[in-house]
């Protein structure tokens, strides 16, 4: 009977494609929008992700994220170093500055100053050049996405001079970094050099990055630092989460994406619901005949479930493939750099597809179940 059910469905090409389209469209909209949403808000944590060695971030208690920060006195570094369980601790500076780009326009940049001796605090990989090039005087690294804002395509930034706070800076390498939420240009340099690039106030140490000794847990050491220094020490994941939360709380992004995802769901329900109930209505006589001939309601139910499953799985696959193609197609675009599809998202859209089909299938199924077999003689 399932064979008959499938043939009934695929035989009605128009409705079959309508159903596939409805499911694929919903899946695509939900998966794609959620993917963009998650990747965008994760950029609120790009500052944390771009310094992979740091296990603990220590900051002033009022600091909220890597971007929204308040500097500490320079003595904080030694205080952190003296806490038991801290294997190493290095200074980390994050500040904003303005720089003129090649066209003479002013461009806001993030200056990141990393430990002179160890270079801890740099992104893991380089697109061009070696990290050690920072040891040369006046050198800065630029992030690969920011690069596209400062320079025309094809223009080689290596060796370009910039002026920062009346100081000379020379771009000597390109870092492979996760773009920040605003895709603002990031310049990496030595801590001592960064102090010169950022207009002078007394306190400019924004973070202390720390590593944990073997046998100690990150949480326990962070707790100890907080208690002993009065500063705020967070495991890296927590600061990353704060960055994400900050975007969620301070932008209309969740609402906007939420609306689109809800629309995807509603459009799916509408298209699939209408088409499915049309399909069932067109075939109600045939279903009635099957019931009269001797097909139980249970088997009729199985038939409708088989039809829904076919439409659901093919439509869902098309939608997910569409999303993958979309992400893949735009992977070269700096706006979408590093975008990935967390497994939870296809799962969420799968649940949405199942909900759409369960809802619409149930409504259609009820009319089939209610059809009296005697109706076939009318």
């Amino acid at each position: 009977m399932l064979w008959i059910a499938i043939r009934m469905l695929t035989g009605d090409k128009q409705k079959f494609y309508g159903l596939l389209f409805g499911i694929a469209f919903s899946t695509l909209l939900i998966t794609q929008q959620l993917t963009i949403f998650v990747n965008l808000i994760e950029r609120g944590a790009s500052g944390v992700y771009s310094a992979p060695e740091a296990e603990i971030w220590v900051m002033d208690p009022v600091t909220r994220t890597t971007e929204v920060n308040y500097a500490m006195p320079p003595t904080a570094l030694d205080e952190v170093r003296s806490v038991q369980g801290v294997e190493w601790a290095v200074p980390h500076l994050r500040a904003v500055a303005s720089v003129r780009n090649s066209e003479g326009d002013l461009e806001g940049v993030t200056i990141v100053g990393v430990d002179d001796a160890t270079l801890i605090g740099l992104p893991e990989r380089m697109v061009e050049g070696d990290k050690s090039i920072l040891l040369q005087p006046d050198s800065v690294l630029i992030d690969d996405v920011g690069l596209t804002k400062m320079f025309a395509p094809g223009e080689n930034p290596i060796g370009e001079r910039l002026e920062l706070n009346d100081q000379r800076a020379v771009i000597r390498g390109i870092a492979d970094a996760i773009p920040s939420f605003t895709s603002q240009v990031t310049l990496y340099t030595k801590y001592s050099q960064a102090l010169n690039y950022v207009p002078g106030t007394r306190n400019r140490l924004t973070f202390v990055l720390a590593g944990v000794r073997d046998g100690e847990t990150v949480e326990a050491v962070a707790q100890r630092i907080t208690e002993e220094t009065g500063l705020k020490a967070l495991p890296r994941e927590e600061l990353a989460q704060s960055g994400i939360d900050f975007i969620v709380e301070n932008t209309g992004i969740p609402l906007n994406f939420g609306i689109t995802v809800a629309l995807g769901f509603i459009v799916g329900v509408a298209i699939v619901g209408l088409t499915f109930s049309l399909f069932i209505r067109d075939n109600i006589k045939q279903f009635g005949a099957l019931k009269a001939i001797g097909v139980t309601n249970f088997k009729i139910g199985q038939m409708v479930v088989a039809q829904a499953t076919l439409v659901g799985s093919v439509g869902y696959a098309l939608g997910v493939i569409g999303t993958v193609l979309f992400i893949w197609g735009f992977s070269g675009n700096p706006t979408f750099k590093g975008f990935y599809i967390p497994w939870q998202i296809p799962f969420v859209s799968l649940v949405a597809v199942i909900a759409i089909l369960a809802l619409t299938g149930w409504i259609s199924l009820r009319s089939v179940m209610r059809t009296e077999p005697a109706a076939v003689f009318r």
């Binding site: 009977m1 064979w3 008959i4 043939r7 009934m8 695929t10 035989g11 009605d12 075939n283 006589k285 045939q286 009635g288 005949a289 099957l290 019931k291 009269a292 001939i293 001797g294 097909v295 139980t296 309601n297 249970f298 088997k299 009296e372 077999p373 005697a374 076939v376 003689f377 009318r378």
Partner: protein, 249 residues
């Protein structure tokens, strides 16, 4: 009003057949808005195997309602129906559905063929529903389509067939699982006189057998002469039961 107008010989001949359906005190009410309409007023009737029984009567007299109750697709308000000895409305829902699947073949006026499967598969539906593999079911259906002279149309979809060919497919579907009772409602209503007769001849050939009963609802007086027995319904009552139509019809 004379209820039986048969000669004694006819009655004896009929009683030789096995009783296929034994209906007693069949009452059926329908709800029409606030009021209840009684469509069947306590019908007692036996249908015998080996006969082609016609149920005739004016529109609205309750023919369709009666045969629907007799073949187990419409619950009577009151009364008892035994089909081959089984009290069908004492069965559970599922048992009744399976009983129909095993014992009853249906020919609907509108055929109700499934548009997206070919003639052979349509004819094989009862076998497939019984759980037979599709290929063997199709093969069995093919034999019947051959017997009905449309074996060469077996791979066409219903909408590629003429009305008469579709009806043959519907007949094949009614007979493919060798049911002991075949029920048709207005099988010739949509056909011209010649095709109507041909279908009835065909039904006679394939659907009437020693151990098989066939009930046909019709008000097509062109084919009354093909009946073994005619039941006349008037306003939900049997007013005639005999081998020929009563005078005046």
């Amino acid at each position: 009003m004379a209820k039986k107008m048969d000669t004694p010989e006819n009655i004896d001949a009929r009683l030789d057949g096995e009783t296929a359906i034994c209906a007693r005190g069949i009452v059926r009410d329908f709800q029409a808005g606030q009021s209840t309409i009684r469509v069947l007023h306590g019908i007692d009737s036996d249908i015998r195997s080996g006969e082609m029984t016609y149920v005739v009567g004016e529109s609205g007299s309750g023919k369709t309602t009666l045969i629907s109750i007799m073949c187990g697709i419409l619950w009577p308000t009151d009364g008892e129906v035994k089909v081959f000895g089984t009290d069908i409305y004492a069965l559970s829902d599922t048992e009744l559905v399976n009983f129909r699947l095993e014992n009853i073949g249906f020919i609907f006026q509108q055929y109700n063929l499934i548009p997206s499967i070919d003639a052979a598969a349509n004819a094989a539906v009862p076998l497939i529903a019984q759980g037979m593999a599709i290929e063997s079911a199709r093969r069995k259906a093919m034999e019947l389509l051959d017997a009905l002279n449309i074996g060469d149309q077996a791979e066409k979809l219903p909408n590629q067939l003429s009305g008469g060919q579709q009806q043959r497919v519907a007949i094949a579907r009614a007979l493919v699982h060798e049911p002991r009772l075949v029920v048709c409602d207005e099988p010739t209503a949509a056909l011209d006189a010649r095709s109507g007769r041909r279908v009835m001849d065909l039904l006679r050939d394939v659907a009437v057998a020693e151990d098989r009963a066939c009930i046909i609802v019709t008000h097509d007086n062109r084919i009354f002469d093909l009946a073994d027995r005619i039941l006349v319904l008037e306003d939900g009552r049997v007013t005639h039961d005999g081998v020929e139509m009563p005078d005046g019809h």
